[in-house]
């Protein structure tokens, strides 16, 4: 098998992992090649609109597990391949020198045992770090069930370590991935949380959930994420819209991945992390799924119109970020500017703050953007839905959610 064929097989099997970010590590170049860029750098965008920053591959797609949703499950008849450590190292270095990539994302199917697989991965990454003196970004997957001392070893070599939770509930996992269990994944997470330092996974850990393969509601998913963020201090939870690659009686047969739902989950995820929202603010038991027509923050604002309109010149930081269309960057700009002058609508525009959605929810120096009698739920709702449709036409939904952000 040629190197090109191997690369095709092992990139093809790695592509379902949503994580692409290369941020959070400022690793210095110590007399070798490469360094980390703290903000992350996107090197290309594939035709599905996702950012490419890392050489994302599996070490092998051979696997002793038989997870029903996975293309590489043991019982599938697919071509199998295995990279040698040297092959991965030279590919990474050669791609890096040409500035195709920011670094390596290495995951793997499980061969022989979790420990054996991890040892092979460690061998590969050691080769890169020690023989090739590679100081670029490396994100590795920890293999659930591997011994702690191996996770310790791997964590010291990489910038980010992650273990995928795969499904939002234990029931889902038992149904679709009978060889896996949640506790093995969370054991890794608590170990990484405990050890994290400047030299051990400086860019922290992340995880991923498959959306739409099992019957969980958005409330179940968000509760899980919120719990993961709090318990293990994860940097990111990635959501991956389920794509039917296998047929099974326990799997939905739909051909189209639920992309809109995935998008709403990402939006809500940001609200949890940077906007001080709680899951209960966004969803409730009687209404456990996100509104497909408007984004979660606008949806919340429309249900709490009594809190609006907010005066831009007085509202606190956390009140400002509750305004649809205003995020942390804009809120900080507003707060630092209004110490020096009274902000009017034209000033917001000058600051580069989009008023498209925000204008319905704010006052500037006591003034509303239109006649204040327009401040009504029906008027705002219909306009927001129109805006979203417009936006979809010109900008398409994946948005900048695949960027790590600050």
């Amino acid at each position: 098998m040629t190197l090109k064929e191997k690369l095709e097989i092992l990139a093809d099997s790695a592509k379902y992992d949503a994580s692409c970010s290369s941020s959070g590590s400022a690793r210095k170049n110590k007399n070798g090649i490469g360094n980390g860029a703290i903000s992350g750098i996107c090197h290309s965008f594939s035709s599905d609109g996702r950012c490419i920053s890392l050489l994302k591959i599996l070490m092998t797609n051979c696997c002793i597990f038989d997870c029903k949703y996975c293309i590489n499950r043991k019982s599938n008849q697919v071509r199998r391949a295995l990279f040698t450590p040297e092959e991965i190292a030279t590919l990474t270095i050669n791609f890096y020198k040409r500035n195709y990539i920011e670094g390596l994302f290495l995951s793997s199917g499980i061969i022989k045992s979790p420990d054996y697989t991890m040892e092979k991965m460690i061998e590969t990454i050691s080769l890169l770090r020690n023989k090739y003196h590679f100081n670029g970004y490396i994100h590795a997957k920890a293999i659930p069930g591997a011994s702690e001392y191996l996770i310790q070893k791997l964590g010291l070599l990489v910038d980010r370590l992650s273990a995928n939770i795969e499904l939002p509930t234990e029931n889902g996992l038992t149904l679709l991935a009978p060889d896996k269990n949640t506790s093995k994944v969370t054991e890794i997470m608590s170990f990484v949380k405990k050890k994290k330092s400047k030299v051990f996974t400086p860019a922290g850990q992340s995880t991923q959930m498959i959306i739409g393969a099992t019957s969980e509601t958005d409330l179940d998913i968000m509760s899980k994420s919120s719990n993961l963020y709090q318990t293990y201090q994860l940097k990111r939870v990635f959501y991956s819209a389920y794509i039917a690659v296998n047929k099974d009686k326990n799997l939905p047969s739909s051909k189209m991945p639920p992309l809109k739902r995935e998008n709403r989950l990402y939006q809500a995820d940001w609200l949890l992390r940077y906007y001080n929202f709680k899951v209960d603010d966004l969803l409730e038991k009687e209404n456990p799924n996100f509104n497909i027509l408007v984004d979660p923050k606008a949806d919340w604002a429309l249900r709490h119109l009594e809190e609006f309109p907010k005066e831009i010149n007085k509202a606190s930081y956390y009140d400002l970020v509750k305004v649809p269309g205003i995020g942390p960057t804009s809120a900080k700009k507003i707060i630092s500017s209004r110490r020096f002058f009274t902000i009017h609508f034209s000033d917001l525009r000058k600051m580069g703050i989009s008023l498209k959605r925000a204008k319905y929810f704010i006052l500037c120096d006591g003034k509303y953007f239109a006649n204040i009698s327009c401040f009504q739920k029906s008027f705002i709702t219909s306009n927001l839905i129109l805006e979203e449709k417009e936006e979809k036409k010109e900008r398409v939904t994946q948005l900048s959610l695949f960027y790590e952000g600050k």
Binding site: K4, A11, Y16, I41, S47, R50, F340
Partner: protein, 242 residues
């Protein structure tokens, strides 16, 4: 009309002198660019230590933003920098928040534009290995970001020899595993025959690029949003798309 020699250092000197002398310029232009005009003859001030405001009087952040404006392709960038620095004398660091002032807003917006373009090219630049083992890359940017890129790759690829070329301005940066040298296109002739291995490596990258896309999610519009067409001529994997 005041003139400077086209370098950042000289521009700062001239502006510092204008500020010290409390002169309001009508225009500040690069020596080579001014058009002879009898009504406003060019004036090149004689500068010494006593008649300028010391550079360290300006806050660091303010100078950095001014420098990025200097690298931009904005027509009246020198005047924008002048007014920006003028305001920074009055407001010091706080000038960064005074977006209601036109010149401040302009300076911040332009500097942002330059740093965003540099960031994009840090990702999109593509090197090819030549027969002489030198890595070569070309780019085509609106603003003069060669210095920013050179600095970035100097830290990243210190043990390679590389050349980065700004096609539009026809200027190059040569790096010899130690120092960066900035040259004009006419000063050097490059042997651009590519290494035998290079085609192979390019094929590997292109096939990775194709494979990594999920066909059930294809969204070319989204791709183009993040990677606008103007970058494509310099992005290897987009060659076949055009």
């Amino acid at each position: 009309m005041y003139i400077y020699d086209g370098t950042w250092e000289d521009l700062v000197k001239v502006i510092s002198w204008l500020l010290k002398e409390k002169r309001k310029p009508f225009q500040i232009k690069e020596e080579t660019q001014y058009e002879n005009n009898l009504l406003t003859p060019p004036f090149k001030p004689v500068i010494n230590k006593e008649n300028v405001i010391a550079k360290n009087y300006f806050p660091k952040e303010v100078l950095k933003i001014s420098y990025y404006v200097f690298l931009s392709n904005e027509k009246d960038k020198e005047l924008i920098i002048y007014y920006f620095l003028l305001n920074s004398l009055k407001y010091q660091k706080n000038v960064l928040y005074m977006r209601n002032l036109k010149c401040v807003n302009k300076a911040l917006t332009i500097s942002n534009r330059v740093s965003r373009e540099a960031h994009k090219w840090k990702g999109f630049l593509r090197f090819k290995e030549m027969q002489n083992n030198i890595f070569f890359a070309e780019f085509n940017a609106d603003n003069n970001i060669l210095g920013i890129l050179a600095n970035h790759f100097k830290k990243r690829l210190p043990k390679e020899k590389w050349v980065i070329k700004d096609e539009k301005r026809d200027i190059l940066c040569l790096y010899d595993q130690k120092n960066c040298y900035f040259l004009e296109g006419k000063e050097i002739k490059l042997d651009l025959n590519i290494n035998n291995e290079e085609k192979n490596m390019e094929e590997l990258w292109k096939s990775f690029f194709k494979t990594i896309a999920i066909k059930e999610r294809v969204n070319k519009k989204c791709q183009q949003n993040f990677m606008p067409k103007k970058y494509w001529p310099n992005i290897l994997e987009m060659e076949d798309e055009q």
